[in-house]
Every structure is written in structure tokens, then in C-alpha cells.
């Protein structure tokens, strides 16, 4: 919402407040000023290192260089057809000024003007925006020779003065402009760009902001003066209104003005509208927009004669009703819209006229024969592009106008505007709530401006149907309520003073304050919610900054921690300690992307995806980490990644399951290379297995076993294992299947890609074993043995036999070599173990030999092992 300061001043005296003071007060009270745009007024200057407060844009108009001047004659340029020379008076002397402005070109060579044209005149050295380049670029006006004529000053356009982003022609000021007056003093302005939060829709207008500012500064709000001179027959006898659903349309007000002349609005009005972000169209459209920006009531202007013609001999009857499913209406943007029973229509006896609160229909719109078919909301269509030949064939400009100011259900308007994708200034306001009380004031204001700017006579009376008058909310509160929620001590009188500034009515009854909300507020409820609503107003009025800062006195709840969360964090710590980089990826992916590694029939699908590659929720965390691996494959000699997060398993018509998973992906070199380290061995199955072993041991899981597994389709069937803890499968890992690997761009094909996937809930629930093995004071004895066994014998079996046979004395069994050659024989392998013997005494070689012999004998017997010589 853009509010020009000059407009705000119509309703509140801001003397002594700087633009920044005003912006600060509004910002702290919940109307955040996003930007201050200067269009003429002096801008604050910041010294080096001084604090800024607001994002600031625009330019100040130099009072010594930019003035009001008048053009007395438009002469031809001797050397250029498209340029003219203006005979101009700047208040002190005559000037010849060169211009190419198209909007005075028609006056070229017409001699001395009967009525001089008032313009904005800038002298050499003025700082302006360059009117000849795209966007806003500052320039300093310099002396130049253009086609043989000296040029040292110029007549300005709105773009050059920073009023609009683009313009086609010079500004033609109103007649009241005093020649020689600094332009900044005449129309210098600043615009506050304010974010309006949903519960402050009441302030999406000038008077709303003025009211808040008045409350914040303790100044008086100057209520708008609405006075209508009326003549002719009363509108009440001419138009009848029927509301069929008062919930959807609580109020409908209509007024009539006759014999208007459609032409441009006064420049001051156009300028304010443009600064507020609204296009100036003509005096009728501008009047309804101006009244809307000022008071917040969107208005809709109908061509009264079109309605009359449609009614024939009957009285005009306007009905508001919901559309029939499949009913259509051509809105004035030329789109034939298919409606649903949720949409509300404004109709006459012949059919629909407009989509209530959102957009008018094309047929009954105000028509300016001299220009274009126009919409009350500022959307225009060139006459020759009008979809309905009927309108342009009307031929005659609108002269009589029926002005609608209605109240609509905000939820319904919001849905309709969304359904038809029709955001507009009107639907913005209606979809956030416009109080029905404002409708009457709005229509009167609109008629007042039409009469002022377009001539014409306002018909007496208004047709006002108001079937659902909202009740002003009443809330009771006490000083204790204020203390309990806000933590401040205020008397009822002090509370009342804060609220009354915002037009709440307050009455003290014993220890209670009975508060009645003003009739422009729709955001104040009753009961406990109403209490919170009112307390918020008390807090805003008191000032958030003035509320003290305290430490919670309330009891601290029992501290129970979050073991699940803490366990996951511990797991992360373990994984990074083993050299794995954590990644975090999108939950949304595509079936195609995932199907490279895993195929699922069912997915949780996004109903409104932003892109096809983000259309389902991931089911495979392995797919996520492989995507990241692929992305980074050329960025390092070794990439080892993990992610911890949810996957999503669909449940028909219900919330999906969101199991937590761990996925790991690794590929590349085992060791980091350096200028003198050239080892290029590649990470393989056992590197991943080692990290898994370390991780599980870090989680204090001891009963862990690994079984070859061919059941995971994306893993190499000969290089994959299931991990069991306490006999239960927790996850799988191994080398990526060659066919899966082919589907990824993973660089050097000779490098194995290792992946692992674990279910975190299972892993977390596996029982950990705590406690330590005591460290003996006696020295251990180390001994290596190598045995030869058949290929089919698993390392796991041998280790288990050694441990079983050695008992407590053998405290560590470490396989340090696996060897095969001809001497050993085909189908055989040699396994070399380093054993650690530890007893609670100093062991002799004989002690060790005795155990070793026992172990060797057992191995010979059980797995046919032979001690290698």
C-alpha cells in the first residue's frame, strides 16, 4: 500500500514530524514501511557512518532550479520536424526551451496560446532521472546544442521527476499552479510503501493510516467532509436492489450521478493516484479509485443508460446472487469466464453484470468514446480490441452513472479472486475484509469527486440495502488481564485512554472496562479471543518498546531431553568422524530420478508441484545421496557422503509414513593424495564396511553380523551384505550394481561406488551394550598365525572358532592378510591373524604356545585348516 504524504496530510496535521518519524512510528505499530520514495521533498542526508533507518529511493527537487513555469507559445524547430521550441516564462524571464513532448505537439505553430500551459521547468544543473533511458538513472541537466539550438533547461515529464517509471510527454499542471514557485513547494511529495498484514486490512487506505498515526502521536484525525449537492429525481425511485444471500452480501449501496463529462482528472489527482500505484484513466474511473484509496471502499461504476436500456419499460432491478454452475460472464478484460456456484454475481433482470467485488462485466462498463473501453479498476482495452463489438457500437460516452458500493464476504471474494486468478485493488481489499459500514461513505465520496471533476448532478438519496448489519464487538477487561498477558500495570483509565485514541468506546464498570469496538473494525472478536484482540491494541498503543523485559517466573517443566534427537546427533558425529560429509537434499523429487536406483509403484504425489522434477516425495534416501554424488563427482578425488532424513511411504488417502533413514555413498581414492603421496588405491567394499563397523561400535552395538545378500537390486550381488544387529536386519550396504552405475554420470568407471542404507528406528531400538574391558597391568603377548583353508570357509567362522577356543585369554583377533597363490593350491586361501593374549599374570611363551596349539587343532578339526609353515 503506497501512501503519498500529501494525501495523508488531508487527514492529519504532520507538522514537526519528519517523513522518517512517521515511517518509524507506523513500522513499530505494525504497519511496516518497506521503502520511502521521495518524489520532490527533501531527502534525509546521511553522513558517512551515520545510521540509516529505511530503504530510501527517489529524488528531491532542487528549489533553486526546478520551478512552475508556463508555456506561452509552441513554435516549430528550424532544423527538426519532431521537436518544438517552447516560448516559456519562468516567473522572472522568458526562456526558449526545446522539447520533443508529444502531448503538446498539436499546438505547434498555432501562435500565442490563449491560455498558457503550466509546466514543471528544470534549469541547468538540476538532478533528474534520464527520460531517454530504460529504468531510473540519475543525470544532471547540462547545456547542449540540439540540432543547432542551444538547450540549457527543460520541461519535465513524470519519469524525469520520479513520479512514475515511464511517461510519454511533459506534465501539464493544474491551473492553480503559481508560476515561479519552486515545484517542490507545490507538489513535492514522499510516498510510504507500507506492508499491510491481514488483520490490518482496515488500514489499506489513507484514512486508516492517518487514524493510526493520529493515535500514535495523540493528534487529531480530520474526518473527511462529505457534502453532496443534489438535484433531479431521487435514485430510490429508479433502482431497486435485492440481496438473495446476506451472508455473502451484507450490504449494497448505490447512488446516481447524471450528465458527467468524461475527461482527464485534475493533475493533482492523477499525480496522487500514480504515486499510490494506480493508473490515472479518466475523471470517472479516477474518482472511484481515489475514493477507494482514501477510504478503503472499492466502488463499481455502471453505465446507467445501459442498465436502463436492458430494463426496458421496467424499473432497474439489481439482484445479487450466486452463479449457477457453468454460467458464464465476459469480464471486461475480455475473458469469458465459466463460473461456479461459489461466485457471487451482480445481475439485473436480463442477466449478470459483474463478478461481485472482483471484476466488472464488459457490457455495462463506463465507456469513453473518445478513447477506450475502461474498467473501474484501471484495466483498459483498446476500443478496436474490444471483444464485444456491441460496446464500441454504443458510440456515445457514458453520461449517467450508477455507482455501487457494496460489502462482500471476504472469504468468498478471496476464493473467487483465486479461482479466476484476478488480483485487483478491489479484490485485494474485499478479500481481506471491508466493513459494511464504509459502503455508504464510499459511494458518497465517489459521487462527490465525480461531481467535482466531471461536472454533472448527483441524484438525491441512495439505494441502501443492508440486511446484515454487523454487531460492534463488546469486550470486558480488567487491569489484571493486562498484567497477566502483557506484564504491565495500567489503570482502567490508562487502558481506556489508549483504546479511545483508536475510536474504541470505553466504559468503566467497577473493576471492569467495557470496550466497544469501532464500526470500521472487523478484526475484533468477543470472549477470550476478543480479549486478546483488545490487549493487542493496548500493547500497540502502549508501545512494544515500552513493555519491560523480564525473566520467566513460571515453573520450569521437568527436563526430559529428547533421546531420539540426541541419538541422531550422536550418529551424525560418528559419521563425520569417519570422514563422511553430511548433505541435505530436497524431499521432493521425481519418479524418473529415483527409478535409476529403486523402483516403487506408489509415491506420495504433490498436487501442485513447482516443476516435474519435484513432483513426488522421495522414497529412497540412497537416490538422494547418489544424486549428490553424481553432482560432485568431478569436484574431488574422493567423495564420501551421508544423509539422515525422512523418506515418505504413501498410505492411501491418509498421512504417509515418514521413517527416518541413513544413506551413505562413497567413491574415489582411499587416501588423500599429496605432492609426495601417490597411492591411488580406490575405496571399495571393505572401506565402507569398516566405517559401518566403527559406526555400530560407536553406537555401542556389539552383537553385529554381516551376511552376503543378493536381494538388494541396486547392489552388486556378489559385493553386498546385510547388517544384522541382535539377529535383526538393520540395513544393507555394498557396491553399486554395474547396471545401476551406468545410469549415473559417475566418471571413472573403474572406481567402485559404495552405498549403504539403514533404518534409523530399528538401529536406535537395538539394545546397546555398555561397560568396558578392564585394561590389564600385565603385558600382552602378540602372536601371528597363518592358516590355509578352502575358499568356501568364511572369515567370520574362523574368527568365531579362534575366539571360542581361546576364551578370555584371546582378547583380540585381527585378520591382517588374505593370500592366494599356486603354492597354496587352487581353491585355497591363506588367512593371517594377529592374536593378542592377555592373562592376569605375565604370560610365558609356553603359555601362548599352549593356547595356539589348541586353536590350530580346533581349526584343523572344524574347517580343515592347515597351519602355514
Amino acid at each position: 500500500m503506497k501512501i503519498p504524504l500529501s494525501w495523508l496530510k488531508d487527514f492529519i496535521d504532520i507538522d514537526g514530524l519528519s517523513v522518517e518519524d512517521i515511517a518509524r512510528k507506523l513500522t513499530l505499530a505494525g504497519m511496516e514501511v518497506d521503502e520511502i520514495l521521495y518524489a520532490g521533498l527533501e531527502m534525509p542526508t546521511y553522513k558517512e557512518g551515520e545510521k540509516h533507518e529505511f530503504k530510501t529511493n527517489g529524488i528531491a527537487w532542487d528549489k533553486e532550479k526546478i520551478f512552475v513555469a508556463e508555456i506561452r507559445e509552441v513554435k516549430a524547430h528550424p532544423n527538426a520536424d519532431k521537436l518544438t521550441l517552447l516560448d516559456l516564462f519562468d516567473g522572472q524571464q522568458g526562456q526558449i526551451v526545446l522539447t520533443g513532448a508529444p502531448n503538446i505537439f498539436h499546438l505547434k505553430g498555432t501562435g500565442k496560446l490563449e491560455k498558457p500551459i503550466k509546466v514543471a521547468y528544470a534549469k541547468e544543473g538540476s538532478i533528474l532521472y534520464d527520460g531517454h533511458v530504460e529504468g531510473q538513472q540519475l543525470m544532471t541537466l547540462k547545456r547542449a546544442k540540439i540540432r543547432g539550438v542551444d538547450s540549457y533547461s527543460m520541461v519535465c515529464s513524470e519519469k524525469e521527476l520520479g513520479i512514475t517509471d515511464e511517461s510519454d510527454g511533459i506534465i501539464i499542471l493544474d491551473d492553480d499552479a503559481l508560476v515561479g514557485m519552486p515545484l517542490a513547494d507545490y507538489i513535492g511529495d514522499a510516498v510510504l510503501d507500507i506492508s499491510i498484514v491481514p488483520n490490518m486490512a482496515r488500514n489499506a487506505n489513507v484514512i486508516g493510516i492517518a487514524r493510526e498515526l493520529a493515535a500514535l502521536t495523540g493528534r487529531e484525525l480530520k474526518q473527511p467532509k462529505i457534502e453532496l449537492k443534489t438535484s433531479g429525481d431521487s435514485v430510490e425511485g429508479l433502482v431497486e436492489i435485492e440481496i438473495t444471500n446476506s451472508e455473502l452480501n451484507p450490504r449494497f449501496v448505490a447512488g446516481l450521478i447524471r450528465n458527467v463529462e468524461i475527461k482527464p482528472s485534475p493533475y493533482q489527482i492523477q499525480r496522487r493516484l500514480k504515486l499510490a500505484g494506480i493508473r490515472a484513466i479518466n475523471n470517472i474511473v479516477d474518482a472511484s479509485n481515489y475514493a477507494m484509496i482514501e477510504l478503503g471502499q472499492p466502488l463499481h461504476a455502471f453505465d446507467y443508460d445501459v442498465l436502463k436500456e436492458r430494463a426496458g419499460k421496467n424499473k432497474i432491478k439489481i439482484t445479487t446472487r450466486t452463479a449457477k454452475d457453468g454460467e458464464t460472464l465476459t469480464t471486461l478484460d475480455g475473458v469469458k469466464r465459466k463460473l461456479t456456484s461459489m461466485n457471487v454475481l451482480v445481475c439485473d433482470e436480463k442477466g449478470s453484470l459483474s463478478l461481485a467485488g472482483v471484476m466488472g462485466g464488459s457490457e455495462s462498463e463506463v465507456y469513453d468514446a473518445s478513447k477506450e473501453v475502461l474498467d473501474a479498476k484501471g484495466i483498459e482495452t483498446k476500443a478496436d480490441e474490444t471483444p464485444q463489438g456491441k460496446i464500441t457500437s454504443r458510440g456515445k460516452s457514458t453520461v449517467n452513472i450508477l455507482l455501487e458500493g457494496a460489502a462482500w464476504n471476504f472469504i468468498n471474494i478471496r476464493r473467487t479472486a483465486k479461482q479466476h486468478n484476478l488480483p485487483s485493488e478491489a479484490s485485494f481489499r474485499f478479500s481481506r475484509g471491508v466493513h459494511p459500514a464504509v459502503a455508504e461513505q464510499g459511494v458518497k465520496r465517489g459521487l462527490q469527486y465525480m461531481a467535482a471533476w466531471a461536472g454533472g448532478a448527483v441524484a438525491p438519496g441512495l439505494v441502501d440495502v443492508y440486511p446484515l448489519k454487523p454487531k460492534d464487538s463488546i469486550v470486558e477487561l480488567t487491569s489484571h488481564d493486562v498484567k497477566k498477558l502483557l506484564g504491565i500495570d495500567l489503570t482502567l483509565k490508562e487502558i481506556a485512554a489508549l483504546l479511545e485514541r483508536l475510536e474504541f468506546k470505553c466504559e468503566v464498570k467497577d473493576t471492569k472496562l467495557i470496550v466497544t469496538a469501532p464500526s470500521h473494525r472487523m478484526d475484533i472478536d468477543e470472549g477470550v479471543v476478543g480479549l486478546a484482540d483488545v490487549l493487542e491494541e493496548v500493547a500497540r498503543g502502549y508501545g512494544y518498546d515500552n513493555i519491560p523485559v523480564t525473566t520467566m517466573a513460571d515453573a520450569l517443566p521437568p527436563q526430559v531431553g529428547n533421546p531420539v534427537h540426541e541419538w541422531e546427533e550422536h550418529l551424525r558425529d560418528l559419521l563425520i568422524a569417519f570422514g563422511l560429509q553430511e548433505v541435505a537434499t530436497y524431499r521432493m523429487t521425481s519418479v524418473e530420478k529415483e527409478s535409476r536406483v529403486a523402483k516403487y509403484d506408489e509415491y506420495v504425489r504433490i498436487a501442485n508441484p513447482i516443476a516435474p522434477e519435484k513432483s513426488v516425495l522421495r522414497r529412497s534416501l540412497v537416490a538422494s545421496v547418489l544424486d549428490v554424488l553424481e553432482k560432485n563427482i568431478r569436484l574431488g578425488e574422493s567423495i564420501s557422503l551421508f544423509e539422515i532424513g525422512s523418506i515418505f511411504e504413501p498410505v492411501k488417502n491418509d498421512l504417509p509414513n515418514e521413517p527416518r533413514k541413513l544413506a551413505i555413498a562413497m567413491t574415489g581414492l582411499r587416501e588423500a593424495t599429496a605432492w609426495d603421496v601417490k597411492d591411488s588405491s580406490k575405496l571399495d567394499f571393505y572401506d565402507l564396511k569398516g566405517r559401518i563397523e566403527l559406526t555400530l561400535s560407536g553406537l555401542r552395538l556389539t552383537d553385529v553380523s554381516y551376511t552376503a545378500s543378493e536381494s538388494t537390486p541396486y547392489l552388486h550381488p556378489g559385493k553386498a551384505a546385510e547388517v544384522k544387529v541382535n539377529g535383526q536386519v538393520m540395513g544393507v550396504f555394498g557396491e553399486l550394481h554395474p547396471l545401476v552405475k551406468e545410469k549415473y554420470e559417475l566418471g571413472d568407471a573403474s572406481r567402485p561406488v559404495l552405498v549403504a542404507e539403514f533404518d534409523l528406528e530399528l538401529l536406535r531400538k537395538a539394545t546397546p551394550t555398555y561397560g568396558i574391558v578392564p585394561v590389564s597391568e600385565f603385558p600382552p603377548v602378540y602372536e601371528d598365525i597363518a592358516i590355509i583353508v578352502d575358499e568356501s570357509v568364511l572369515a567370520e567362522e574362523i574368527e568365531a572358532l579362534i575366539k571360542q577356543t581361546g576364551g578370555k585369554i584371546v582378547t583380540n583377533v585381527r585378520l591382517f592378510d588374505v593370500y592366494r597363490d599356486e603354492k597354496i593350491g587352487a581353491g585355497k586361501k591363506s588367512l593371517a591373524y594377529s592374536l593378542t593374549y592377555q592373562a592376569e599374570k605375565t604370560m610365558t611363551d609356553a603359555d601362548a604356545a599352549a593356547i595356539r596349539n589348541k586353536i590350530v587343532k580346533r581349526l584343523e578339526k572344524e574347517v580343515g585348516a592347515k597351519l602355514r609353515g
Binding site: H52, T56, R414, V529, R540, G561, V604, R605, P656, A672
Partner: protein
């Protein structure tokens, strides 16, 4: 004889002076002090000397031996020092050559920031509470005082999930962690329905908004909310708690301000700005020349939300606040593109 001894000493010392390495030193020792050296032969022939000569020569020969041994020791030390100096000189490294590195793992920057935030909150008594990422409309919106079709929903553009026609309760991607507020309150009420216990929790987790992915906006982001519910909790307490948190998070001197704002699930609501720590409030690109950085939204828990959680708003009150770890990191580390977070380029991740 004495002359001979003097000659021995003189020539031995002279040759010792020229020695610079250990081998020559060993040779010198053998030739000068060895068994068959001229000096030793003097001792060997001692018995042949006359009674008068014996004491004189004996003293002189001993003096020469001691002198030469001392000279040897001194020379040996010098030779050792020289050799050490030489080898130290020869072993000199190019210290500017790069060190040998390791492939190491790091936590994702979001995890790191979440940990910072949660660690501070834990010390303040706010314990982690997590809940699901896919939610019902009821939990994500309706229970939090966003009625159906209410304009407040425009503040949170939503991803919906296909789940058949569920009427007014579609399934969606949670837009904030706040559904956890309702879940946590209800769980607490279940423990003691007559007198529900106070609550102090931190709610971290991934949230989703329907946005185009640009440098400034993302479809997913982490959020951490704090929630306190009890019988004596005020807006002043909210201010105190936020002030404590901000001081811990952004430093002792961080100035902050509370601005009135609107969130459907809190009332009164506020946004908190911290003085821009990049420029110190002087105005810069990061704070868009405003001198302030918006860092969190907060407010007193709305009575409807308390009610939906099972807490009677006439007895209980509470406050909640929400903030974004990625945004905090972006501000602190001057990250100008939010897409880095889920882009997972190792060149980004390695910098944390």
C-alpha cells in the same frame, strides 16, 4: 727428551687444528694418543730413563697427554657442532609446500546452525520436540487459527499432497513446525488432564512453501520454534526470553527492537529486528540500507491455539517464536544465494 715431547705436542696440535671430520679425528687420536704413537712410546720407554730424568720427563709427558686429550675433546665437540650445523642446514624444508591432507567429513551447515540454536535453547530449558513433515490442513492451519480460505493463508503458500477428496482437510507439506505446538500440547495434557503441566520446547524441522526456487526463495527450509506455556507467562517474559536468546546468538551488544505484526497463531504478535551486524546499523546491502535485520517472528500464543492444544486460555498463557537457521547463516556468513543449502556442492559444504 723434553724437546721431543714439545715437538710431539706442537705438531700434534697443529695437525689437530686442520681436522674437520670424525674419521680424521679418529685417525689423529690413534696416531697421537694410540699405543704406537710417539707419545706413548715415551711412556713405554719410561723405564729406560735415568733416575733424574724420570720425574721431569714423567711430569712433562703427562702434561702433554692431558693437553692433547683436552684438545681432542674440544676439537671433537667442534667437529660435532659443525657436522650438526651442516646437517641441519642440509635438512632445511620448504615450509611453504602444502601439508598432507585427509578426506574429512563435516556436518551440513544447516545442522551446524540448528545445533547452535538448539544448544542455546536447551540451556534455557527448551527441549527438542520433533514432529512429522507431511501434515493435515487441520493441524497445519485450522488448529493454529488459520480458518479455511482465510486470507492469512496467503502468507504461507502451500504444497498439497494428492490424497483423494478429503473435503476441508487435505494433506499438505507443513509450512511451519507449528503443528508440533498442538501435538506437544495435547501430549502434555494427556499426562495430566486436570492440571496440564507447563511446556517449554524447541521445535526444529524442515518446512515447505510453494515458491519458485531463486536466490532469495526456496521450497524447503529449516525452522526452529520456541514454545512456552504456563500459568504466569507474559509478553514481558517473551521479550526477556528473546533478548536472552539474541544475546547468546548474535552477541552481547546486539540491539533489538520489537515491531507489532500479525501471525494468526499469536496475539499480540511481533517481529524482532536485530541491528545489522554486518554494518553495525549504518546501512548496507545485507540490511537493504535499513540498519535492521528481521530475524524472527513471535507473539503470545493465540487463545484459540491454546484451546485447541487443550489448555484453557483463561488460566494459561504462553508465547512462541520462530526463526530460520538458514537465514541466520546467510546473514552471518554473507551468503547471497539460498540455493546453496540444498545444492550440496562440496565446494560450499567444505567451507563450514
Amino acid at each position: 727428551m723434553l724437546d721431543k715431547l714439545n715437538d710431539i705436542e706442537k705438531s700434534a696440535l697443529e695437525s689437530l687444528d686442520a681436522i674437520t671430520d670424525q674419521a680424521a679425528l679418529d685417525a689423529w687420536r690413534i696416531s697421537t694418543l694410540g699405543r704406537s704413537s710417539p707419545l706413548m712410546s715415551v711412556f713405554a720407554e719410561f723405564g729406560k730413563l735415568s733416575k733424574e730424568e724420570k720425574p721431569v720427563i714423567g711430569v712433562a709427558a703427562n702434561r702433554v697427554k692431558v693437553a692433547l686429550e683436552a684438545a681432542l675433546a674440544e676439537r671433537a665437540q667442534a667437529v660435532k657442532n659443525a657436522a650438526l650445523a651442516k646437517s641441519l642446514e642440509e635438512e632445511k624444508l620448504d615450509v611453504t609446500l602444502p601439508g598432507r591432507t585427509k578426506h574429512i567429513g563435516r556436518l551440513h551447515p544447516s545442522t551446524q546452525q540448528l545445533r547452535r540454536v538448539l544448544a542455546i535453547l536447551a540451556e534455557m530449558g527448551f527441549q527438542v520436540y520433533t514432529s512429522r513433515e507431511v501434515e493435515t490442513d487441520e493441524m497445519n492451519f485450522q488448529m493454529l487459527n488459520f480458518p479455511l480460505h482465510h486470507p492469512a493463508r496467503d502468507m504461507q503458500d502451500t504444497f498439497f499432497v494428492e490424497a483423494g477428496d478429503r473435503g476441508d482437510n487435505p494433506i499438505l507439506m507443513r509450512t511451519h513446525t507449528s503443528p508440533g505446538q498442538i501435538r506437544a500440547m495435547r501430549e502434555a495434557v494427556a499426562t495430566n488432564p486436570q492440571n496440564p503441566p507447563p511446556i517449554r520446547i524447541a521445535l526444529p524441522g524442515m518446512c515447505f512453501r510453494y515458491e519458485q526456487i531463486t536466490a532469495r526463495s526456496e521450497i524447503q527450509f529449516n525452522q526452529v520454534e520456541g514454545l512456552a506455556v504456563g500459568k504466569n507467562i507474559t509478553f514481558a517474559d517473551l521479550k526477556g526470553t528473546i533478548a536472552d536468546f539474541v544475546r547468546r546468538m548474535f552477541g552481547e551488544g546486539a540491539r533489538l527492537r520489537f515491531r507489532a505484526s500479525y501471525f494468526p497463531f499469536t496475539e499480540p504478535s511481533a517481529e524482532v529486528d536485530v541491528e545489522c551486524f554486518v554494518c553495525g546499523g549504518k546501512g548496507c546491502q545485507v540490511c537493504k540500507n535499513s540498519g535492521w535485520l528481521e530475524i524472527l517472528g513471535c507473539g503470545m500464543v493465540h487463545p484459540v491455539v491454546l484451546q485447541n492444544g487443550g489448555y484453557d486460555p483463561k488460566i494459561y498463557s504462553g508465547f512462541a517464536w520462530g526463526m530460520g537457521p538458514e537465514r541466520q547463516l546467510m546473514l552471518r556468513n554473507k551468503i547471497n544465494d539460498i540455493r546453496y543449502f540444498w545444492g550440496n556442492d562440496v565446494r560450499f559444504l567444505e567451507q563450514f
